[in-house]
């Protein structure tokens, strides 16, 4: 965390759907290069908040600054500075690996040459050079997931948002995926990640836990375990989510 320079600054964020308050005055910062775990029960408001951070939804009130851009005012500008990978991996099954890279690189305004270089770099790193002309649908899930992460990084974003990226993959692949996350973080990319695997919460440098639209806790996993006298993050999570019911 380089000199604690904030890259995400959320102040008093409120999002209402009719009378329902999905996000109730969220205030938090994420620092450059940090791996930030954004946890919460189903329906706690994580997805709503994440959609606002990436410029897909407007806040009802409050201020959200991502990579020095006021997201409420300039939602389009922020999209060039971030990468996003959803649980469904967002790659096109009926296109080849190369075509997926070209498509996403093109959206982000990269030149043909830049796209080619970035693709070579990632495929080589993953040992997937021979996959270049394969259709996505013929590639096993674990590989697809690593590709999706690489494609989301194709334009060298400041921040990458990962929404439950590891659902359903085997324990070895899940660990390999986290090594990619660490590597990105080491290179200065900020990682904002949601997950239901509580052991993965331990891999984050700091985590927040949401419940019923509010952030109930935010700290390092170690500090949270001490505060809630829990032996792991699963216990912390259950204590927090149960308490507010």
């Amino acid at each position: 965390m380089n000199q604690k320079e904030p890259i995400i600054e959320v102040t008093g964020l409120v999002k209402k759907f009719g009378h329902f308050i999905a996000n109730d005055h969220l205030t938090f910062k994420v620092y450059r290069g940090e791996i930030f775990g954004f946890l919460g029960a189903n329906g706690a408001g994580k997805t709503t908040a994440m959609k606002i951070l990436i410029g897909l939804s407007k806040p009802t009130s409050g201020k959200v600054v991502v990579a020095d851009i006021d997201v409420g005012k300039q939602p389009e500008r922020v999209k060039h500075r971030i990468g996003y990978m959803s649980q469904h991996f967002s790659l096109y099954d009926d296109m080849t690996v190369k075509e997926n890279f070209r498509f996403y690189g093109g959206i982000y305004g990269l030149s043909r040459k830049q796209i080619r270089e970035r693709m070579r770099f990632y495929l080589e790193k993953l040992g997937m050079e021979s996959f270049e002309d394969m259709l996505l649908k013929n590639i096993p899930l674990g590989w697809k997931q690593k590709l999706a992460f690489s494609v989301a990084n194709v334009h060298n974003p400041d921040i990458i948002f990962l929404d439950e990226p590891t659902g359903g993959v085997d324990p070895i692949t899940r660990r390999q995926f986290w090594e990619m996350i660490y590597e990105a973080s080491d290179n200065g990319t900020t990682v904002f990640v949601t997950t239901h695997y509580m052991d993965e919460a331990e891999y984050c440098q700091r985590v927040s836990i949401m419940s019923e639209g509010r952030i109930e806790a935010l700290d390092t996993p170690k500090a949270l375990k001490e505060k809630y006298k829990a032996k792991n993050m699963n216990e912390v999570f259950i204590k927090i989510a149960r308490n507010v019911e």
Partner: protein
């Protein structure tokens, strides 16, 4: 009165992909039996054969006294199935979904209400809400109610807790234990290794094979290596430095620690690791022997060639 399930030499391929590679397995009456494994292990294929939705290429399955091919109509009457992609009508309300499933099976919500009462009480406040507007945890509970509405003898649940938060998962398992007390045999699949401990017996699955079938505590007992937990001030660098450490069978992140499996003497490997890490300049070094859990066993079994 509870039913057993007997699976013999079951094989299924989709074109070139071998989804199930000749599986044999007996599930006892009234067991909660777990199938633990990642996507592509063959869990859903197996469940679809058991629930008479697809045919195997080879082998047979009996549920109680019925054969899944010959007696498929009877099996559909005694089986409750909750597929992975939630089987609800999103534009119907909670109550309409329940009524719909009840009528398909020629019964009513009232007739078997005692069976679903506990679950239904939790979702009753939302009974006029559309299923599509429920949270993930609530959807799962409604889907479970729908699968139970005709009082099945066998309940087949395909990844009921995937994508569900840790609290709702815990509640869901408490409900399953109650269903078991009513005499139902329960087959459940999950990618969450920690849920294995909640089953009576489990099969660990990978690429169409059963790697092992046993009681969860027995699988843990069978772990033949010593497991060392290592923590330091820099966990990211630690994995890189420790990978391939002399005397280790495998090294991997596990929660807030690093796990190192070894066949060496405990005292010696602890000393070796400590010396190595001190020389590398690590601080806050903690090295201890730790008990394996199912995920450690799964990782160990994944390395063994299966056939």
């Amino acid at each position: 009165m509870s039913v057993s399930v007997n699976i013999q030499n079951l094989k299924k391929s989709y074109q070139k992909v071998k989804a199930l590679k000749e599986i044999s397995l007996d599930i006892l009456p009234n067991e909660i039996f777990g199938f633990i494994g990642p996507d592509g292990a063959g869990k859903t294929t197996l469940f679809r054969i058991l629930t008479t939705l697809i045919l195997a290429d080879k082998g047979s399955v009996r549920i109680g006294n019925y054969d899944v091919v010959k007696d498929y109509k009877k099996i559909r009457q005694i089986t409750g199935y909750m597929p992975g992609r939630v089987s609800l009508y999103m534009d119907l309300t909670v109550e309409e979904n329940l009524k719909f499933y009840a009528r398909i099976f020629n019964t009513s919500i009232e007739e078997n209400f005692d069976l679903i009462e506990d679950i239904y009480n939790q979702i009753a406040p939302f009974k006029n809400r559309r299923a599509g507007d429920l949270s993930g945890g609530m959807k799962q509970k409604l889907a479970l109610s729908c699968a139970l509405i005709h009082k099945p003898e066998l309940l087949v649940l395909d990844e009921p807790t995937t994508g569900v938060d840790a609290v709702s998962r815990k509640e869901f398992w408490e409900l399953l234990k109650k269903m078991q007390k009513k005499g139902i045999t329960i087959l459940v699949s999950t990618p969450y290794m920690d849920e294995a401990a909640l089953c009576d017996r489990v099969a660990l699955m990978q690429s169409g094979n059963l790697m092992t079938v046993d009681k969860p505590e027995q699988i843990v007992n069978n772990f033949s290596e010593t497991l060392i937990s290592v923590k330091t001030n820099n966990m990211y660098r630690l994995l890189g430095d420790m990978t391939g450490f002399e005397g280790s069978e495998r090294v991997y992140r596990f929660g807030d620690a690093l796990h190192l499996a070894t066949r060496m003497k405990t005292k010696q490997i602890k000393e070796n690791v400590h010396r190595f890490l001190s020389e590398k300049g690590y601080q806050e070094i903690e090295i201890s022997v730790t008990e394996p859990v199912i995920e450690d066993c799964f990782l160990a079994l994944m390395e063994k060639p299966t056939g």
